[in-house]
Symmetry: C2
Subunit: 260 residues, 2 copies
């Protein structure tokens, strides 16, 4: 098994930010942080005692190079670099592993299934990390790294990983968007978002135990037309929110009573 | 102030179920549970040492009668009963307080802002309860009752309460619907919903500290077209899910870059 001690990062965004810090905390040596802008490279490099660079040629030949940039950029970067040694991985949910074929002889994927923002700490202990390697030595090396920061690791091929990512978009990004609409509505009425927090917490906690179909409640599910009509009437002041309300209400109803 | 000791319920659904049990636990005497079906009346009555009835005339003249039924049914019930004594409240987010005007001289609203399912216990300690009374004695009496089961109580008029309910539909019902889509996608691919739970928990926990606009992440927000195209391609196998994906993705994008 390739023993990984040293790690470099291409990218200094939200995922790189948290991953680099967590790996450093678990005694990996972070050698280089590459970013297109020196400010963001330096910000993260300072956190993990690494060198910052904007020159792709200056990246250390680390045991592991983690490419943590948007999917479009992965393709571009893959065309321009060829590592002399070590494993190359990306952290994308959707990009195929093979997009790194030309970057190194040893390549794979290291996908943390979580939402990351720089100004919010994340617990890694139970954070799912999906691993894929182009051969079993690579897979094992990546499992060793992931296993140092989480107990929740999974071998997942590129096809299944993309499905997980799609599901995660619904469960996280779309969910958070619904929070943001509720917050916008309250703000317009000078009501405090604070009052919704126990509800938001319980809605999430509920599906830790019940499946989401069992957990569903609300006027759309119980076909409480009187309430729905009043909500629409109110929301007619905010056409964007009204469209979302109508759309999702209709989806909840048609899920309960699918058209045959 | 009217001192409330005895309580009866009209309705034995999810809200009545949890509220009656919590009030009983806090030493209120639950006298009657009325429901249209004797089975559901008895199920709850047995839990709280109350009498079960399907005859509206048999409801005890309690200090407080809590009407916890769908909005349409509130209007119907209000036409048929006139309490000889005590306060009448409903638990609806959207129904005006005045819909109980004919039911008793003392009336109000007791709206717990939470999602309830019978097979899931709920913590009341910090659960927001919105109170409205037709006079200050009623408001104070209701605050006394609410204050025995939560420290998170609010005086909210009917107009503001409806806004809270609309916001709650987005933050809870629509959010849970997004969970259910993610769960359905994973099921179709024989993947375990378990793997999404840390993400769901963190997405909710995140907005306890950050506002939801700050907390937003994902391909729609960063306009990661390559990823979005791949997700759509995959979802074309599931037209219903694809429609939801396209709709919410477009909303997230247009929120970030509003058309002028």
């Amino acid at each position: 098994m390739n023993k990984i001690n040293t790690i470099s990062f291409i990218g200094a965004g939200n995922v790189a930010w948290h991953l680099a810090k967590e790996l450093k905390k678990n005694n990996f040596i972070i050698e280089t942080i590459f970013s297109r802008t020196i400010i963001s490279a330096k910000l993260l490099a300072n956190e993990v005692d690494a060198e910052a660079t904007t020159n792709i040629q200056n990246i250390h030949p680390s045991d592991l190079t983690i490419i943590s940039i948007p999917d479009d950029a992965i393709i571009e970067i893959a065309k321009t670099i060829k590592l002399k040694q070590g494993i190359a991985v990306h952290t994308s949910g959707t990009q195929e592993m093979d997009s790194l074929k030309s970057v190194s002889d040893e390549f794979g994927v290291f996908y943390p299934l979580q939402t990351f923002s720089k100004n919010r700490n994340v617990e890694f202990d139970n954070l799912p990390i999906c691993i894929e390697g182009n051969n079993s030595a690579v897979t094992e090396a990546l499992e060793y790294v992931a296993g140092r920061i989480t107990k929740n690791l999974h071998r997942v091929n590129s096809e299944k990983r993309m499905v997980l990512h799609v599901a995660a978009v619904f469960a996280c990004n779309f969910t958070n968007f619904m929070y943001s609409v509720s917050s916008d509505i309250l703000k317009k009425e000078q009501l405090d978002f604070e009052i919704l927090k126990p509800l938001i917490a319980e809605t999430a906690q509920k599906v830790m135990k019940l499946n989401p179909t069992e957990a569903q409640t609300g006027p759309a599910l119980r076909n409480d037309i009187k309430t729905i009509v009043k909500h629409r009437e109110y929301l007619s002041n905010f056409p964007e929110f009204e469209k979302i309300y109508n759309f999702v209400t209709e989806k909840i109803q048609s899920k309960k009573h699918p058209k045959t």
